[in-house]
């Protein structure tokens, strides 16, 4: 059956701005940036994890008519498209401080949770992202 989850997708309003944020600010790396003619296929991944990519997709033609794209953009900027991203880090507070210095918008400060410590942030378009330093879980590696 299924082996792995290779590509997940989120919507972005602007792929250049998305690169600025996901690569320049969050420190991900570009996996694929290819103009297919009908779309710019743009994926990023956590450094060293090329087998798990995030597709940064711009809603619009030819996949979507203008009215549908407008609906997606409307929902996206209201933070209503879902597509949350959950990252992990070895040092939650250091990562938070680094991102704060870069002017990132947060939805929650580092908070102790039953599963570790994590914080929440927004990308420039409205997507919601969480970053967690997971507590060691008994019986599970890492």
């Amino acid at each position: 059956m299924l082996d792995s989850l290779r590509i997940s997708q989120i919507y972005v309003l602007d792929q250049d701005k998305a690169l600025d944020f996901y690569v320049g600010t969050l420190g991900l790396e570009v996996n694929t940036d290819q103009d297919l003619g009908f779309m710019r296929f743009l994926t990023v991944n956590v450094p060293g994890e090329p087998d798990r990519q995030i597709l940064l997709e711009k809603p619009g033609a030819p996949l979507m008519d203008a009215a549908a794209a407008d609906e997606v953009r409307d929902l996206l900027t209201k933070g209503r498209t879902g597509g949350h991203l959950f990252f992990t880090t070895k040092d939650c507070r250091a990562t938070y401080d680094e991102l704060r210095a870069k002017g990132v918008e947060f939805t929650q400060e580092p908070t102790e949770q039953p599963y570790g410590i994590d914080f929440g942030l927004r990308d420039p378009f409205g997507n919601h992202i969480r970053v967690a330093q997971l507590a060691a879980v008994a019986g599970r590696a890492g």
Binding site: G60, D74, T77, Q113, G120, F125, R130
Partner: protein, 146 residues
């Protein structure tokens, strides 16, 4: 795209500023937050901010902040042994009477009763926050039924 473009760009910009103000409530619910300061975050007049927020998110900013505070209070009641008065101030209420009344209205039972019964939820906190937040629709009566 051309036909819709100009209008939707303005809407998107407005949406994003409203979301920023809403995020500020999620982030700083424990601090005194008022409409003037939230409207400033959204770069809107107070009256326009309240109207636009309601149009975008289906409830007034005041109601959203109340639900955020109650949801955090529910979490603290479940997760900690802080007393009800401390929880009330932790989540940004300045009056125990207002807290108790709002909690009862939104959740359907008093904070002390809720604490005794509610099970621990073991999912990532943002889902617990988003889905555990008492609904603005139907709320107390629906919850009692469940």
């Amino acid at each position: 795209m051309v036909r819709f473009g100009a209008m939707t760009r303005a809407v998107e910009d407005s949406n994003r500023r409203l979301l920023r103000a809403r995020d500020a409530m999620d982030l700083a619910y424990g601090q005194p937050l008022d409409i003037p300061s939230l409207a400033r975050i959204a770069f809107m007049s107070q009256a326009h901010f309240i109207r636009a927020f309601r149009a975008a998110f289906g409830e007034t900013p005041h109601r959203y902040l109340q639900r955020r505070r109650i949801e955090r209070a529910m979490y603290l009641l479940r997760r900690t042994d802080r007393n009800v008065t401390d929880v009330c101030f932790d989540v940004g209420f300045t009056s125990l009477g207002t807290f108790s009344r709002t909690f009862l209205e939104v959740v359907g039972e008093a904070p002390s009763v809720y604490r005794l019964r509610e099970p621990v939820v073991g999912v990532p906190t943002c889902f617990a926050m988003a889905w555990g937040r008492p609904s603005t629709f139907g709320e107390a009566s629906g919850r009692r039924g469940g």
